[in-house]
């Protein structure tokens, strides 16, 4: 009952946006709400179900975005010819060096192995750089204004969504292997760090996805507005609904995304619910509530943690790929930890950790607030400052600072929920 009521409230809020502001903004909120809900679902798997503290959501979301470029953009044959294979060879070499170091560490007898591993790692690094650097220079020299990168595989963009999940899962495996099994704070710091590194790589490795030069004009799974406006049958249908062609085409495109995203969210939500109520889900919660007892019952805690860490990160990767597809461009500098990591955490905590529906609700609700706090803040600040003289510096500063109300509001909401409803709006059953 409570679930239904709260979801109805969110629906009402979005519909109110449509009526009061515009249907386009309502659909923008809805689409990003759907994406946010998937991210929240991923974090909820990790935190709500397993008690894993992942503050690297931004990194996995960004990897999803990278997957869109790597999958759907057409390859750049000149760049491949110039140095693409060399770059690939260097990456393979780096991988071999890492694997060799790990094997050496495990196989060699104590005493000498430290030196051996250090030699392999350092030697491998210099060899890797020696092979990589000329390749990178060659690739980045190919028409740097338009391409200067290797491009992708030229596959359909929808395929990028699962690929984004896989990419995130792969990185999660590496992090999980190293940081899981240590204390919870350490996992937090490790994930915080890896997220920054992923963003740094995406900003600086121009051969990969053009770095801060951004990749724009990514392929879309839905038709383009211009094509719709040029189609006479579409204009006719729009006219019969009483809409002008421009508005109708933008709405049509956004609705297309909404439908696609809803399908993904529903599928993932059903899967998450099935997992939660399965024996596996019960085992996860048992581990969360008492690790020692679960371990005594023969459960492999570290392996299960690794498993769910990978699953949750994969969801964030899928959501990241969907978001980049929606934006139609990859802009590495737009990834901010406060927006992509900590806001998702607010969604999960407010919605109700441990409850998948709660996470989805939190995703919608917090995203709605994140978007709407600014106009509301502007309105409030307008009233507050209405008594002040026009042109006064304080008034101007206050009106100017409204955009920073968002972070403040989110912090207050998070603290209020933690204090007065620590189990969230929809508590775990």
């Amino acid at each position: 009952m409570r679930t239904l009521g709260l979801f109805a409230l969110v629906a009402a809020l979005i519909i109110a946006t449509g009526v009061l502001q515009s249907w386009n903004s309502a659909l923008i909120i809805l689409n990003m709400g759907l994406v946010s809900a998937i991210m929240a679902l991923g974090v909820n798997l990790q935190w709500g179900l397993a008690g894993l503290f992942n503050v690297g959501v931004m990194g996995f979301v960004a990897l999803g975005g990278l997957a869109v470029v790597l999958t759907s953009v057409a390859p750049v044959p000149e760049a491949w010819a110039a140095g693409g294979w060399r770059v690939l060879a260097a990456l393979a070499l780096g991988l071999v060096a890492i694997v060799l170091s790990v094997v050496a560490w495990k196989r060699l007898p104590r005493g000498r192995r430290g030196l051996a591993v250090a030699l392999i790692a350092v030697g491998g690094f210099f060899l890797y750089r020696a092979v990589l650097d000329p390749g990178v220079d060659a690739v980045e020299a190919v028409n740097p204004a338009a391409t200067g990168f290797l491009g992708g595989l030229g596959l359909p963009v929808l395929l990028a969504w699962p690929v984004g999940g896989l990419l995130a899962a792969g990185v999660a495996w590496v992090i999980g292997k190293t940081a899981l099994g240590l204390r919870s704070d350490y996992l937090a710091i490790a994930t915080l760090g890896i997220a920054e590194i992923i963003i740094a790589v995406m900003k600086n490795e121009d051969w990969l996805a053009r770095g801060v030069k951004n990749v724009i004009g990514l392929p879309r799974p839905v038709p383009y507005e211009v094509d719709l406006q040029a189609s006479s049958s579409f204009v006719e249908t729009a006219g019969s609904l009483g809409l002008d062609a421009t508005t109708a085409s933008t709405l049509y495109v956004k609705l297309g995304y909404s439908v696609l995203f809803t399908v993904v969210l529903v599928v993932l939500l059903v899967l998450a619910q099935l997992a939660l109520n399965s024996p596996w889900g019960r085992m996860m919660r048992a581990i969360r509530d008492n690790e020692e007892a679960a371990e005594a019952m023969g459960k492999d805690v570290t392996a299960r943690h690794l498993q769910i860490f990978i699953l949750g990160s994969a969801l964030c990767g899928i959501a990241g790929a969907m978001m980049t597809t929606l934006d139609g461009q990859l802009t590495p500098s737009s990834y901010q930890p406060l927006r992509y990591t900590f806001l998702v955490w607010v969604m999960v905590i407010v919605g109700g950790s441990g409850n998948n529906l709660g996470a989805v609700l939190g995703g919608f609700l917090i995203w709605f607030l994140w978007v709407q706090v600014e106009p509301i803040g502007q309105w409030v600040m307008g009233i507050v400052t209405s008594g002040m003289a026009d042109g006064s510096a304080i008034k101007a500063h206050l009106l100017d600072s409204v955009q920073h109300m968002r972070l403040l509001t989110m912090g207050v909401i998070l603290l209020l929920v933690l204090r007065f409803a620590p189990r969230g709006l929809l508590p775990e059953r």
């Binding site: 704070d185 760090g193 740094a200 607010v346 912090g411 998070l414």
Partner: protein
Amino acid sequence: MRPAARSGTERGADPMDALNALVALANFVLIPAMAYGSQLALGALGVTLIYGILRFSNFAHGDTMAIGTMITILVTWGLQALGVSLSPLPTALLAIPFGIAGTALLVLGTDRLIYRFYREQKAKPVILVIVSMGVMFIYNGLTRFVIGPNDQDFDDGTRFLISARDFKAMTGLDEGLALKSTQAITVVTAVIVVALLFWFLNRTRTGKSMRAYSDNEDLALLSGINPERVVTVTWIIVSALAVVAGTLYGLDKSFKPFTYFQLLLPIFASAIVGGLGSPLGAIAGGFIIAFSEVGITYAWKKVATYLLPEALEPSGLVQLMSTDYKFAVSFVILIIVLLFRPTGLFKGKSV
């Protein structure tokens, strides 16, 4: 480009080459890393003290530094408007006590309103970490609300103690050694602050009770130590450390709220590498992280050109990693320490 003055001399055999290399190394690596390390060490001391006494990783520490620095900057501007100046030192040094007072009030208020509730509930440490995330949002929002998200330069002291040109004229070397006054101030202030802190922790009654509380809470309570008093004193010390670290960093580089948030990673890395809860470890960790960051992202070509014979002269920049990957450096060191010595170099505590 090889300096013109060196043409004609035999390469590699010139004793001045070694000196030049040393000066270049000091100028580009040792001095900056020393200053940066002092700033990190002060930041890490704050994190490690909170961890030792309050037993959680404070994610709001970077933003506490930002908000404290902001108060200092505002007071600096006020002092400048009144015509007060500490020339040749930056006016901000005069404003630091005000910044500490303001930050301590804010942080103590936060503790009363927010953290104390969870302390009384004996909430799990990870809950407190999430709570500190909320505090981080609020501090971050407040900072941006008051001073805005942009760069603020508030250093009005003399820029250089020794400028590169003076140094060249003085010594006749080809390489200049520049010592920014902010770098000297940073190191001197850090030494004074750390000395004061260790004197306080080791010699005073309150300091000793803090260490006792950190080592064994139950025993400390049994022996009549008032926990709320310990917590209050801790927060005040932490605010002082955060404001000093933040102001020094802002003087040395510049003040930008987002940069302070990002400092969280190297600061935590320093604290963990040294061993969470160990003040000595935090200082060691700060310098380890700073020297590796600067050393790995520095282009060694200049130093190598002086030291190596001409035939071996490097063609590239000899830069192990571009400066954009400085976070990766602290991260890799962190991972290595976590894998091989999870309690850190100086045996921190684990929860």
